[in-house]
C-alpha cells in the first residue's frame, strides 16, 4: 500500500519549513463562528460553528440540501456569508479572494481543463504561481506518482475514466500544498467499488501528507470509512460533531440517531425517575428503563431509540432476557448470510427491527407471524424529548 513515496511528510520533503509564525501552530486550523447564509427568507446555513484541527480529516455528512456545499463554498470564497466569521490560523479570511486563500478543492463535477493535458492541469497552480518550468515538471511527476498515474501525463482529460479524472483533480489540488483541502462529494459520480478504492487512496494520502481535509458526503458509510471526526448537518444547522463511534453510540438527537446507522424509535412518556434511570411507559403499555442522561420531567413525551443489533429475540415464555422488553409479531424476516433481520410489529402498531448475527452459538431462525419478545439492555437506550 505504502510503496510509492518513501519519505513521508510533505510533497516538498527537501524544503525546510521552520520559520512559521507562532499563531499557525494553534491546534485548530479552521474555525467557523456563527456562520449563516440566507437566500431571502431561506436559511441555507444557519448559525454554524465548528473547528477543524490541524491534520484532521473531517467530513460534513448530511442529507441533500442540508447546507454542506454552501458552507464549503463560503470557506473556499465562492459564496459570501450573510453573517459569521471564517478563521484560518486565527485570521479572518472572509475578505480574501479565493485565489489568495491557499486552499485546495476537488469538486463533485469533473473540472479538469479540457484543453490541457493531465500534466498541464496538475501543473496549472504552479504555473500561475510562476514556478520555474523544470521545477513544475519535477513536482508534477512526483504528485502524479502519488496518485499512481505517472504514465498519464500526456493524456487529455477526455481520455481518462471518471475515477482517474478525480484523482488528477486531487493531484491538482495537492501540488501547491494548500493548508486546507476541500472535497465536495468528489466520488459521487463513481460506482461503489471504484469509490471504495479511491477512498483508501485518499486515506493513504491524508496520512502520508498530513494535510487537513474537509470532505463533504451524504453517504454515511463513506463518512465512517474516512473521517477522524464527522459533522452531521441537518437543515443548515450542525446536529452533532464527533468521532464516528461517538456519534453512533451517543447520538445527541433523534436526527443523528436516525441518520447514522439503523435505529428503532418507539414513542412513550416519562413515568418516574429514580437512581439515574427513567421509567418510560411505551405506547403499547409496556414499561422500560433508560439511563437519565437528560433532565426530563414526568409526563414528558419522548422518543425511545435503540440499535437493531443491541436487541435479541426470545420466545414470549422465556423471561431471562434484558431489562427492557416488548412483545409483537414477526412481519418481516430477511436472511443476510452472516445475520438475519426481523421486523416485529408491537401491539401499538409500531415496528421494531432486530438484527441477529449468526455467531457460533446462535443458529435459530424465526418464522413469519411468530409471536415473539424483543428484549434489550437499558443502557443501550437513548431518549429524546418530543415537543409537546
Amino acid at each position: 500500500m505504502n510503496s510509492s513515496t518513501g519519505s513521508g511528510g510533505t510533497l516538498d520533503a527537501g524544503v525546510p519549513q521552520g520559520s512559521q509564525p507562532a499563531r499557525s501552530m494553534a491546534a485548530n486550523l479552521l474555525s467557523i463562528r456563527n456562520l449563516s447564509k440566507h437566500y431571502g427568507d431561506f436559511r441555507a446555513v444557519d448559525n454554524v460553528s465548528l473547528d477543524v484541527r490541524r491534520g484532521e480529516l473531517m467530513t460534513f455528512l448530511g442529507p441533500s440540501g442540508s447546507g454542506k456545499t454552501t458552507t464549503l463554498n463560503m470557506v473556499a470564497g465562492f459564496d459570501t456569508p450573510t453573517a459569521g466569521e471564517i478563521l484560518i490560523d486565527n485570521q479572518d479570511i472572509s475578505r480574501v479572494i479565493p485565489s489568495r486563500r491557499n486552499i485546495g478543492m476537488v469538486f463533485q463535477r469533473y473540472t479538469l481543463f479540457p484543453h490541457m493535458t493531465v500534466a498541464e492541469n496538475v501543473g496549472f497552480p504552479l504555473m500561475v504561481r510562476r514556478v520555474a518550468k523544470p521545477q513544475i515538471a519535477e513536482r508534477v511527476t512526483r504528485v502524479l506518482k502519488l496518485i499512481r498515474l505517472e504514465s498519464f501525463g500526456d493524456r487529455r482529460p477526455s481520455q481518462l475514466s471518471g475515477g482517474q479524472q478525480q484523482r488528477v483533480a486531487l493531484a491538482r489540488a495537492l501540488i501547491y500544498e494548500p493548508r486546507l483541502l476541500l472535497m465536495d462529494e468528489p466520488l459521487g459520480a463513481l460506482d461503489k467499488r471504484l469509490r471504495e478504492e479511491i477512498q483508501l487512496e485518499i486515506r493513504r494520502i491524508h496520512h502520508q501528507l498530513d494535510v487537513t481535509i474537509i470532505y463533504v458526503t451524504h453517504d454515511q458509510e463513506e463518512a465512517l470509512r474516512l473521517s477522524d471526526r464527522i459533522a452531521v448537518f441537518d437543515n443548515g444547522r450542525i446536529a452533532q460533531i464527533g468521532a464516528a463511534r461517538e456519534l453512533y453510540d451517543q447520538p445527541a438527537n433523534a436526527f443523528v440517531g436516525a441518520f447514522l446507522g439503523n435505529s428503532n424509535f418507539l414513542t412513550g412518556k416519562i413515568a418516574t425517575a429514580n437512581g439515574g434511570r427513567y421509567q418510560v411507559t411505551l405506547k403499547d403499555g409496556s414499561s422500560i428503563e433508560a439511563p437519565a442522561r437528560l433532565a426530563l420531567a414526568p409526563e414528558q413525551p419522548v422518543s425511545v431509540m435503540f440499535r437493531p443489533e443491541k436487541a435479541i429475540l426470545q420466545s414470549v415464555s422465556e423471561t431471562s432476557g434484558f431489562t427492557n422488553r416488548v412483545v409483537g409479531r414477526i412481519t418481516e424476516n430477511v436472511f443476510l448470510g452472516d445475520s438475519a433481520t426481523y421486523e416485529v410489529r408491537t401491539a401499538s402498531g409500531e415496528l421494531v427491527t432486530v438484527k441477529q448475527p449468526f455467531g457460533p452459538s446462535e443458529t435459530k431462525t424465526r418464522t413469519m407471524d411468530e409471536e415473539i419478545a424483543v428484549s434489550w439492555p437499558h443502557d443501550c437506550v437513548h431518549i429524546f424529548p418530543i415537543d409537546r
Binding site: 473556499a76 470564497g77 465562492f78 479572494i97 479565493p98 485565489s99 489568495r100 486563500r101 491557499n102 486552499i103 485546495g104 478543492m105 469538486f107 463535477r109 473540472t111 481543463f113 479540457p114 484543453h115 496549472f124 497552480p125 500561475v128 504561481r129 477526455s158 483533480a169 491538482r172 489540488a173 501547491y176
Partner: protein, 287 residues
Amino acid sequence: MVAATEARDTATTELARQGRTLLPALPALVFLFLAFVLPVWVLFLRSFTEPATGLGNYQSLVTDSVYLDVLVNTFFVATAVTISTLLLAFPIAWFLVIVPSRVARMVFAVILLSMWTNLLVRTYAWLVLLQDTGAINQFLMYLGLTSAPVPLVNNMVGVIIGMTYIMLPFIVLPIHATMSTLDPALMQAASIAGAKARTIFFRILLPLTLPGISAGCIMVFVMSLGYYITPALLGGVRDMMIAQLVAELIQKFLNWGLGSAAAFILLFITLAIYFAYVRLVGLVRPT
C-alpha cells in the same frame, strides 16, 4: 450552416453511388442548375472572354491601382468590422451567460428583432444618427467634446459602425453558444488553484471559447467581404468595396467581363478563407 451543406453533399454522393432515390430531388436539381450553376458558369466564362479572350480582366483588377484600392478597402473594412464585432461580442456573450435566463431571453429577443427588421431601414437609421446634425454629433457637441460636427458618415467610419451593428448577432450567437456549454466550476477550480481573473480569462475562458470565436469571426469576415447596401449608403465615393465595384461595372458601364472577374475574385478569396478555416479548425470540432 456550412457544415450542414457539406454533410448534405456527401450524403448526396453516397446516394448517387447507390444509383437510386435521386428522382424525387430532380425538379429541385434542375432548378438549381438553371438558376444557379448555369448563370455562374456563364459569368465565369464571360470573365475570361469579354472584351478579349484571356486573363486580361483579372490582370487589370490586380494591377490597376483604382481596382487595387477597392480590394484593399474591402479587406480593411472586413478586418475592422471583424475586430470591432469581436470586441463587442465577447462581453455581450459573457453577459448573456451570467445574467438570469429571463434577462438573457429578453436581450436575445431584441437582437433577433433587430435582425428581422429591414436592412435598409436599419442602415438609414444609422445615416440619420451619424449625420452632421444627427443625434450623436449633437450629443458630442452638447458635452463639449467637439465644437464642429465629427464626420461620421460618407466615410469609412460610417461603414464600419453600420456594419459592426449589422454583423454583431452573427458573432454573438456562436460565441454565446460555445460559452454557455462551459461549466462555471472550471472557473472556480482555476480560481481556487490560485489563478487571478486575468489568468482565468486568458488561460481558461478564452481558449475554451475559441471554437465559437473562430466560427463567428469567419462568418462576419466573409459576409463583410461581399457586403453591399451598408457601404453604399454610409460610405463615401472613395470607400468603395468590391460588391459596389461589381454593381458599378455591370450596371453603369455594362462591363460584364470585368464585373464578373471582380465577382469571381471575391468568390475565390471567400473559398480560400473557408478552406483555410476548415484546415485549421476542422468542420467537426473536438469536444
